[in-house]
Amino acid sequence: MVKALTAKTIAKHVVDGKLFILDVRNESDFKNWKIEGKGIKTINRPYFDLIDGVEDILEQLPKEEVLVVCAKEGSSVMVAEMLEEAGINDVYYLEGGMKAWSEYLMPVKIGDLKDGGSIYQFNRIGKGCLSYLVESNGEAAIIDSARTVEAYEDFAKENHLEIKHMIDTHLHADHISGGRRLAEKTNATYWLPPKDAEEVTFSYEALEEGKDITIGHTKIEIQPLYTPGHTIGSTSMIVDGQYLLSGDILFVDSIGRPDLAGKAEDWVSDLRDSLYNKYNNLSKDLVVLPAHFGKISELDEKGAVQASLGELFEKNEGLNIESDDEFRRAVTENLPPQPNAYQEIRQTNMGKIDPSSDEQREMEIGPNRCAITE
């Protein structure tokens, strides 16, 4: 019998394990986006080239432990069964396919807060999206929530937390925010930067400098800092004076792209000012927690993505461009392709369109692509 592996199990292998993957999606989908990791080996052979038999590829595969992956599961089960019949031991398939992989959120504890409470990073490892849960005295705030809010709901339930605040650092273009939906469900306040919300169809609380958000009795402070550039509203957050949630402005290996709302040239100087002036004036001891990662090598040994601001000012190329001209070119020319369906995703996040949940899953397929480099 071929066995199912869940996205959760595979996430563990991606962080610190080994796995041989036969990806049976078509070549273009595979090239666009796949499961990656230090100990992951992958070959691609579309399932439709294997309908008559798997003999051709047997010599490229190990004799045991092969994970077959496809878009939704069906084809991987078919190929896995054929491999097992051909004599390979322990053949697995990815339960729910790449769709499930795209949606899995891995919670990783980042650290404790000074007066009790803690902060967790929820790593959507398949898409490179990072969201955060800050908790103190039974209350929680969630920042840059993924569409699949069940992971946060389960976590809150297990840890007896009441979700009080849902915060988006900006209007996302790569994924559909779960912020508004979970806020409605839990009676939490939904925060969005007003400059990103000019066209939204719903009511929200304005996320602005000076409006500190507190959770728990110990007053964990979440302090908004206006840092435009990726979008005109992009707002960073300083949590407990220790953590800088940098949204899509600053990543560990790259910086945010200014073009996804169609105004790259207009926003270049904002982006430069946010990174080179506003961030530069902050304490270099702040731990930067971004909203995305691009490469799996950005994950540390426990699967977290983080770095001190000081370290990033030394190592991140995007923070070390001297001339304004060179910076303009770096953030407007030769950018990677845009995220899949990014215009429809922005419309959805504004409340202007309301796709079905199947359509929403489909829109989010692929990597996040919010940085200027891949």
Partner: protein, 75 residues
């Protein structure tokens, strides 16, 4: 278009649309045109890639009310 046979895979999900298309194609002669109806979105990319890799020609495809129609000429 002179369609020799129509294959209805509506409601079926991957891999069945292609498995059935392949079977139907095996029964046709070179130059015959097979029309395939499908509702699985993945079929669009997969059928064009499959046609290429197996020497058939995807003449055209379009979407009508959520149903994808493909015309493939056997190579």
């Amino acid at each position: 278009m002179n369609v020799k046979q129509t294959l209805d895979t509506k409601g079926l999900s991957c891999p069945m649309p292609i498995v059935k298309t392949k079977k139907a194609m095996d029964g046709l002669a070179s130059g015959d045109i097979l029309e395939v109806l499908a509702t699985d979105k993945g079929a669009v990319n997969d059928l064009s890639a499959w046609s290429k890799s197996s020497g058939h020609e995807l003449l055209d495809h379009k979407e009508e009310d959520g149903v994808f129609k493909f015309w493939i000429k056997k190579g």
